[in-house]
Subunit: 493 residues, 2 copies
């Protein structure tokens, strides 16, 4: 979901560097096209003139903004093949395009046009430029506006591209998967089906157990070795003991902090930073090294447990373990408490990306994530995040009061009996999985569980290291999507 | 739909007079309760603290307003019986409650709780009081906000009343019927089924023929007697001839106008006023006299044709015919051109009600009604209302640009295959009927056509003069609704 922007400093430099390699720039229908022929899929970067405020004709948003999208027709059976539309989530759209290779692989097989649309207020789709995160400008950042953006973009691009009769399938991972679900239930007139990978539509709607997330992070490490979980828990306990003794200098040296902590707030921040590394290791527990939301080795949870159980000093082991996440390059000589991790309204982290503001605002408004660790069902120190704490924070930071229950009202929560044509895929290694739909609900609301899968592994491109379970999942997804496309053609003919 | 507020001066005095007969006022859960024991159903008038802006946490609407609703539990099997929820449309909610007796009759049979919710910006549900129609305050008047109001109100009232497991059926007539459709497709998690009476969901979404409406008005008169249509057409032609001759004083005397017309604009206004009377006569062609959107005799179209064909002077006959609508009391000695009819973004009229502003704004934004008469397929003078004219008017009046296609994108237009549990009822006499769904689309998207029915006759209370077709329709509606309620219980248990 979110704890992803940690090494965005590094990552974006790489990505943007790539994205800026513009081989050609041309004008078509008021949109700037940029070719990126150096990328695996031949995406063109375009901009769509988008309505600023779909829900108020008389607001400050009485205008348009430039919404970025990536498009490739290299596999498209022009005017006939389906449209595969990625409902961009909380980040630069290139990052999702570069890490969702399954979609283009599938497009190659099914003759599809591929579009990756960037979510408003992220990447280069900033409605008010650098003022986008001011108050009240930030107010137009909502799930509903984002969905309406996609609905309008699909409708107009279909007309523009002569694709009026081409069925549209939406894809998304994580929050993007939630958006895919919402697109199908909100706009079935536009979208024939949705592949929602690792979409925690329940836990982010305030449904379920606030302890689930960190419990499932813990379970990943326990599965490798129960001693690993115990070691992590033990290390946090040692830290806690030192903190109670106010032995701050020992804490500094144990964790290689750049500055000596001096307050309970600093210790809280350190605990958050440490816990967050485990969140990321669990989410990104892929069977090969990746450069998505930071750089990770293959099987990072296994690597973490090896590190954790290597050596005799638990705190040093903990420091080195979180280093897999925070210091993958080995360049850092010390950890800066407040720059490596930013606490926000999402207890799984908002990170340091230039869009962390946007995600924080969403977590303060519609997206409900009061996840807590309790040191009983998980290996972390007890860190509460109650609805009251959320309110307090959000009022202070954004002058907004969250509205618990709204997402459930607006997007149905678990009451999905009127929905159809959605695949809910989840990886058992992913701490977000149990916040989503894990059981098939009807012949057209299909849960696909991937035992060896981390966070939306199925959306990633094929890899020799892929476990059998994700190969099977992708095959099933591919078949179902082909059926949806076929049925949609039949219906409209 | 709209051409209804003509005699609102009279009507509202009567209604509000009734509504103000407050027998008891008490406080419960911050809401004021008022009993109206003098009314047929024992409605209590209450207010719900409603979110002002559901779609922007940081707008001028960062607060609440008092939304009015009427409620009666006199027939409710408390905690078990269903909830019948009227999705209020463009007017004072008492007017709909007093003219939709079928809902309470059905509640008596099915043990239902009945709620009539007032639409924001109408009646007493003015979010910003007397400033509600200023710019930008009017900006929070949208279909989406109204639907979210109802979703939230239902959810919270269910909790408050111990009705959590009670299935909800929504009802609505005209624009209210459109809202019922939208509630079911948007919030099937909250609403088990919808009876949408006379809901022109296609024609108001820009789908269909712009000539249909006035053609169908004409057909009603033609059905009574083709000579009637010819007489109306002939009278308009005479008026046109006089106007071309600039014989304004003869026009004044023929039509008993209070002031002598002096410009083409005055003549245009007169044509609009005259045409509008026929719209109202056709819409309200009930088999007994009514006091809904003005006072009407029984079978007003028949009465109109008798008047039209009585006497030798066509223009005098036309004057007397529109008098059925404008001068039902016989008190007017002359017609004031600009006070009896107000031209607006709805060519079927916005009338003179204190909420005509609200409907005009809606017709300038989401609701598309570019209906035209052409003097070929209808009996009226050719009066265009193009999308360009609409734009021009709306920009000047409200500083907004309409967004054609938006309603179709947002609420699916004719692409209803993903919808379920909706009855689309229409009366063949109603000029709105052919702007709606006339054919059953699936086993749970059922069209009920009522040959002798005018505008949502089926929602009105039983009357000895009811034609057989509406009795049959109500019986069928009643059976289907009982099935929905039963199925919803089964599903949630």
């Amino acid at each position: 979901m979110a704890a992803r922007w940690l090494f965005l400093g590094f990552m974006l430099l790489i990505l943007v560097g790539k994205a800026e390699t513009r081989l050609s720039v041309e004008k078509l229908n008021n949109e700037v096209i940029t070719s990126h022929r150096d990328l695996a899929a031949d995406f063109k970067e375009m901009y769509f003139k988008q309505i600023l405020d779909h829900f108020n004709y008389n607001s400050l948003g009485n205008g348009t903004y430039d919404q970025r999208y990536l498009i490739t027709d290299q596999y498209w059976k022009k005017g006939y093949g389906p449209i595969f539309f990625y409902t961009g989530n909380e980040g630069d759209i290139w990052e999702f395009a570069l890490n969702s290779g399954f979609i283009t692989e599938l497009a190659a097989v099914q003759g599809a046009l591929v579009i990756f649309a960037e979510h408003r207020y992220y990447g280069k789709s900033l409605p008010f430029g650098k003022d986008s995160f001011n108050i009240p400008e930030v107010g137009l950042l909502t799930v509903e506006q984002a969905l309406a953006d996609y609905a309008l973009m699909i409708t107009e691009l279909k007309n523009e591209l002569g694709a009026q009769t081409c069925p549209v399938i939406v894809f998304g991972g994580s929050y993007g998967g939630m958006l895919s679900v919402y697109m199908r239930i909100r706009y079935p007139n536009i979208v024939a089906g949705a592949l929602a990978a690792s979409a925690p539509i329940l836990s982010t709607a305030g449904l379920g157990d606030s302890a689930q997330f960190f419990q499932d992070v813990t379970a990943d490490f326990q599965k490798i070795n129960p001693a690993c979980r115990d070691a992590v828990k033990g290390a946090f306990q040692k830290l806690n003991t030192l903190a109670q003794q106010k032995d701050y200098s020992r804490i500094q040296s144990a964790f290689s902090l750049c500055k000596t902590p001096s307050t309970p707030k600093d210790i809280h921040q350190l605990n958050g930073l440490l816990r967050n590394a485990f969140t990321m290791l669990a989410m990104l527990d892929y069977p090969y090294s990746t450069h998505f939301m930071g750089s990770m080795p293959a099987f990072p949870v296994k690597v973490a447990c090896e590190t954790m159980l290597n050596g005799t000093d638990l705190m040093l082991a903990l420091r080195d373990t979180v280093g897999i996440m925070y210091n993958s390059t080995g360049q850092l000589t010390c950890y800066d408490l407040y720059s490596l991790y930013v606490e926000c309204a999402d207890p799984t982290g908002c990170g340091l990306g230039f869009n962390s503001n946007a995600w924080d605002y969403q977590a303060c408004t519609e997206i409900e994530m009061c996840f807590e660790s309790n040191n009983v069902t998980d290996m972390f120190p007890a860190m509460t995040f109650t609805e009251q704490q959320r309110e307090q924070y959000c009022l202070k930071r954004w002058r907004v009061l969250p509205r618990p229950g709204w997402l459930k009202t607006q997007f149905w929560g678990q009451d999905l009996s009127a929905a159809s044509n959605i695949i809910f895929s989840n990886g058992d290694l992913d701490p977000w999985a149990n916040g989503g739909i894990r059981k098939t609900l009807s012949p057209s609301l299909i849960a696909i569980n991937i035992p060896e899968g981390a966070h939306h592994l199925d959306l990633r491109e094929s890899n020799p290291a892929d476990p059998e379970s994700v190969i099977v999942a992708r095959k099933k997804e591919s078949e179902i999507i082909a059926q949806w496309v076929k049925a949609a053609r039949k219906e409209s003919s």
